[in-house]
């Protein structure tokens, strides 16, 4: 049974504004670690706040467990204080006038728990997060990372079934962020909480999530496992948003005379004439192979030649920039390239690693079936 169910959820902040969130249907399963991923301003925070009840809906319905907590048509609104969720704000929003201990204790006091139990639970959660020693300090006396732990502890203390996190790691430095990521994953296992995690950082989403929901301009683009999102992006937006360096896109529909585009067009016409309406083709940088003595071109591959116009070492791997008349391609490799800038190289791409999008930018099902017949397509 899904834990959280959003149906046709819409949010509009003002009569003249565009929808911050439009017609959102999303199911978040019990015990899931769901990442809402998308560029800044795409409506992630708004979605999270609507789930928490801090923002009311313009239309639609939200159900948590078996209870409808928010519905415009049914006129239902359960206030945030009755939804029994935890929310960690991007700014942490610790209460400046309470000590760390009192901050953590606040929710338990509201629940009128006996003192002994409160102390035990506060002690446990502070220990788990390593903030015991600051228990008598005030929030302003802690560093960003410590504050972030307190914000988490405050929510975990009441042991909510749903934990909502709004870019909680974005204010931390790189090392701390890595550490906190591991910690979040551990907490997820330990407390068995359903987590909804908002981020604009694809790397964070990929490493943490069991499921990712990609959003853009208030609209849900795709829901799937991290691998789904990366390997089978549902549309051009998702393909381009996820992946670094970004996916190479060849615009076939635009009628470009560039050599590579002409080649690609004839490749698809000759081999996959059944695919109608090809708008563009996406090629992940790691899917491009350079032809060498040990790597011959497979018979069915899409191949071409180009000049190496740049080699960028990124520590352990390399980004190679290829130029053919009017087009640039990026490829990544984990082997030290044995070529030099200025050299002409042959390259190829296996058909099953090609992403074909139609004129409207949607992933072509026909292409999936033809290019990768080994996989069962639903």
């Amino acid at each position: 049974m899904p834990k959280i169910n959003l149906r046709g959820v819409e949010k509009n902040y003002g009569a003249n504004a565009a929808n911050a969130v439009a017609n959102l249907d999303l199911e978040i399963g019990d015990g899931e670690f769901m990442c809402l991923l998308g560029p800044s301003g795409c409506g992630k925070t708004t979605t999270l706040r609507m789930i928490a009840g801090l923002e009311h809906l313009t239309d639609g319905e939200i159900q948590v467990g078996s209870r409808v907590v928010d519905s415009v048509t049914a006129g239902v609104f359960v206030p945030p204080e009755k939804r029994e969720m935890g929310l960690v704000f991007q700014s942490y929003a610790l209460w400046p006038h309470l000590t760390i201990e009192r901050n953590t204790d606040f929710g338990l006091r509201l629940r009128n728990l006996p003192k002994a139990e409160r102390e035990e639970r506060v002690g446990k959660v502070m220990k788990t997060l390593g903030i015991e020693e600051y228990r008598h300090r005030y929030p302003s006396q802690l560093s960003g990372g410590q504050q972030q732990r307190v914000a988490l502890a405050r929510m975990l203390a009441v042991n909510p079934e749903v934990l909502l996190l709004d870019e909680p790691l974005s204010n931390l430095d790189a090392a701390l962020r890595l550490e906190m990521r591991a910690e979040l994953k551990r907490l997820h296992r330990e407390f068995k909480t359903t987590i909804v995690f908002v981020t604009h950082d694809q790397w964070e989403a990929m490493t943490l999530a069991t499921t990712i929901a990609v959003m853009s301009a208030g609209m849900l683009q795709q829901v799937g496992t991290p691998n789904d999102i990366y390997d089978r992006p549902a549309n051009r937006f998702v393909a381009q948003f996820v992946g670094n360096p970004p996916i190479n896109i060849l615009e076939l529909a635009a009628g470009s005379p560039a050599d590579l585009v002409v080649r690609a067009r004839s490749y698809f016409q000759q081999r996959y004439a059944q695919i109608e309406d090809i708008g563009s083709v996406g090629i992940r940088p790691e899917a491009i192979r350079i032809v060498g003595p040990k790597t011959p071109v497979p018979e069915d591959a899409f191949a071409g030649s180009a000049e190496v116009s740049g080699i960028l070492p990124t520590g352990g791997s390399w980004i190679i920039e290829l130029s053919t008349a009017g087009e640039k391609l990026f490829l990544t490799t984990h082997q030290a390239p044995e070529i030099e800038v200025g050299a002409m190289v042959e390259f190829f791409v296996k058909p099953k690693t090609l992403h074909v999008f139609d004129g409207a930018g949607r992933r072509s099902k026909t292409a999936d079936r033809l290019l990768n017949p080994a996989v069962l397509h639903s």
Partner: protein, 631 residues
């Protein structure tokens, strides 16, 4: 896991770019119709009514409509209706519409003494005071902010003192020095020394202008000085590098950029002068020098309600026009302004051999605006005969004596029950009003920051700002108009302490609500939302989160109005009766009865309270006075 299932069915195999939505969603998603307008309204209403925020907002809005808007409307309508007692003179029924009062004030034979002369006097005094204050205050601000004058830190505090004291403190000091035989009672010091000061020096336009100029120069020092300090010296440097001389730089670069802050200070002074009652009352009466405020007061004392309403309406109109002109000018001037960048001034202009004259100038201003008036007031309360410095002329009788040979007030002021009564009244009335307005201000801030009903927020913001446009004495007139007689279930409040409290609360709301809104906006929604998520209902959030966090600004929001209320005069002079005397009206009454020493002693007490209160406020809030300006 079902999430995975959902993902498989709705996501990975088929998805769309905007604006199409994800295909293959569940069946019910596809055929759900959007909510109807009625459903949306019901949902919004439920949310709006769920929390007390909206209800409180509506209640406070109704309260302020009654305490602020209704009195003003009542007063304005008095201006056009026959008042009780005038029906035979006007030959119409009470309550009928009439032009009589408007004609009387603007075009009749007495119009010139009722309105036009007082208007001219008000304008001349205000502009005189503004020009003098800009010259003196501007020079001092520059010396303090941008030069190496001696003792700048000390002067920065000392020169602000005149503003902390009630303006008519200086008027009383002036009469103590310059009073001549035109008026009865104890003679002035100069007269006692055998030099009779001419009337033009002792009373009227000149002393009023000088006193207001000295009293309001601190406005310029504070506001203009702040702007000067924030001024980016790189702008000046670039002009100098391009070859502009020092004067050119001042004229072409610094002054235009300083204009907005100078304009606000000037407008603020004008608005204050417009409602200034105490100074012209003390110094103008002997020579029949009337300004609008005293003319209005005279109409009220002689129970000419209709005329008073027209006069108060005119003062209010001038106030509104001033603020509107200010808003426009500031908007114009702001277009050029780039004050406040990082390269603020830390470099000072060396005064070289002007260093000592500059310091002497600042010291002289301090002597004339603080030291002399306060010492004169104090000495006058411990001397039997003015200006005679023999040892046996000194006495503490006026403070703590008994069996004094006077008609009333036969004991020293500190032993007089009237003083303690007035002090208690001051404390009680001003204290209650300040606490209530501070809390209401925070509440208004809360509603404005939180209510989902935008029009309510806008209305609250505007209605609480309204008294700012209405000088105190005109506002008091409005209260008199509404509450002097019983109306419906509300009994006549005139003569009670309640009317004073209500008027004071309403009068302080612009500052209280501004402070409350700023505090709530600065706090943001999140700490409260975090408590809400944790499970705290509305009242718990108020008690455990909002009020404790806002404690500091609440203290300021109570203390600042308290200080301005303690030294305030114009509201009380209209609305207080002998039994509800506060310190200020008590001292004014003593002035009327020519008990000079006692009056001066009371004023010194008020000045001490105001000064200490301001210091306390600064200490508690660690801010400087500029933020409390306008109170």
């Amino acid at each position: 896991m079902s999430g995975q299932l959902a993902a498989n069915s709705s996501g990975s195999s088929s998805a769309a770019c905007p604006p199409q939505l994800v295909e293959g969603g569940r069946q019910d998603a596809a055929d759900r119709a959007p909510a109807s307008a009625a459903q949306r309204f019901r949902y919004k209403l439920r949310i709006a009514l769920r929390e007390p925020t909206t209800a409180i907002g509506i209640l406070t809005a109704a309260l302020f409509a009654y305490l602020i808007v209704v009195p003003i409307i009542s007063m304005l309508s008095d201006a056009g209706r026959v008042q009780l007692g005038d029906e035979r003179r006007i030959r119409m029924e009470v309550g009928d519409f009439t032009w009589y009062y408007i004609e009387r004030v603007f075009t009749s034979r007495v119009a010139s003494s009722l309105f036009w002369e007082p208007l001219l006097n008000t304008l001349s005094v205000a502009f005189g005071a503004i020009i003098a204050a800009v010259v003196i205050g501007g020079l001092l601000a520059w010396l303090l902010a941008r030069t190496d004058m001696f003792g700048r830190r000390w002067f920065a505090t000392a020169l602000i003192v005149p503003y902390m004291l009630p303006a008519w403190t200086f008027a009383l000091a002036w009469t103590t020095l310059f009073k001549n035989r035109t008026v009865g009672g104890q003679e002035g010091w100069l007269e006692a020394l055998g030099l009779t000061p001419p009337d033009w020096l002792a009373y009227g336009r000149l002393p009023v202008t000088i006193i207001l100029a000295l009293h309001y120069s601190p406005f310029i020092i504070l506001l203009f000085g702040n702007a000067l300090r924030r001024f980016d010296s790189q702008l000046e440097d670039s002009a100098r590098i391009l070859g502009a001389g020092r004067l050119t730089v001042t004229r072409k670069i610094i002054l235009p950029l300083m204009l907005p802050s100078l304009l606000s200070a000037i407008v603020l002074i004008f608005a204050k002068c417009l409602g200034e009652f105490g100074v012209p009352y003390v110094l103008g009466l002997p020579v029949k020098f009337d300004v609008l405020a005293t003319s209005l007061y005279r109409s009220i004392s002689s129970r000419q309600t209709g005329v008073a309403a027209v006069l108060a309406g005119s003062i209010m109109l001038i106030g509104v026009m001033t603020i509107m002109i200010d808003a426009k000018l500031i908007k114009e001037a702001r277009r050029f302004v780039t004050v406040g960048s990082k390269g603020a001034m830390d470099r000072l202009n060396p005064l070289n051999n002007l260093r000592i004259p500059a310091t002497v100038f600042a010291a002289l201003i301090f002597v004339f605006s603080v030291a002399v008036p306060l010492s004169v007031l104090f000495l006058s309360t411990v001397m039997k005969i003015p200006a005679r410095f023999d040892a046996d002329n000194f006495t503490l009788d006026y403070w703590i004596g008994t069996d004094l040979n006077t008609v009333a007030l036969q004991t020293g002021i500190l032993l007089s029950p009237d003083l303690w009564n007035a002090a208690w009244n001051s404390l009680r009335i001003v204290g209650v009003a300040s606490i209530v307005s501070g809390l209401l201000g925070l509440l208004v801030g809360y509603v404005v920051a939180r209510t989902p009903v935008q029009p309510l927020a806008t209305f609250l913001r505007q209605v609480t700002f309204l008294p700012y446009l209405v000088p105190g004495i005109a506002f008091a007139t409005a209260y008199l108009s509404l509450f002097a007689v019983p109306r419906g279930p509300v009994p006549a409040l005139y003569g009670t302490t309640l009317i004073l409290m209500l008027a004071l609360i309403a009068d302080q709301m612009p500052y209280a609500s501004r402070a409350g809104i700023a505090a709530m906006m600065q706090l943001g929604k999140e700490p409260e939302e975090a408590a809400q998520i944790a499970g705290a209902g509305w009242s718990r959030r108020m008690i455990s989160i909002i009020i404790p966090i806002q404690k500091g600004s609440l203290v300021t929001g109570i203390l600042l109005p308290f200080i301005s209320g303690i030294k305030g005069l114009s509201l009380f002079v209209v609305l207080a009766v002998p039994s509800t005397d506060v310190l200020t009206t008590f001292s004014l009454r003593l002035v009327d009865y020519h008990y000079t020493q006692a009056a001066n002693a009371v004023v010194l007490i008020i000045a001490a309270i105001a000064y200490l209160g301001t210091l306390l406020g600064q200490k508690l809030t660690r801010t400087n006075l500029a933020q409390g300006l306008g109170n």
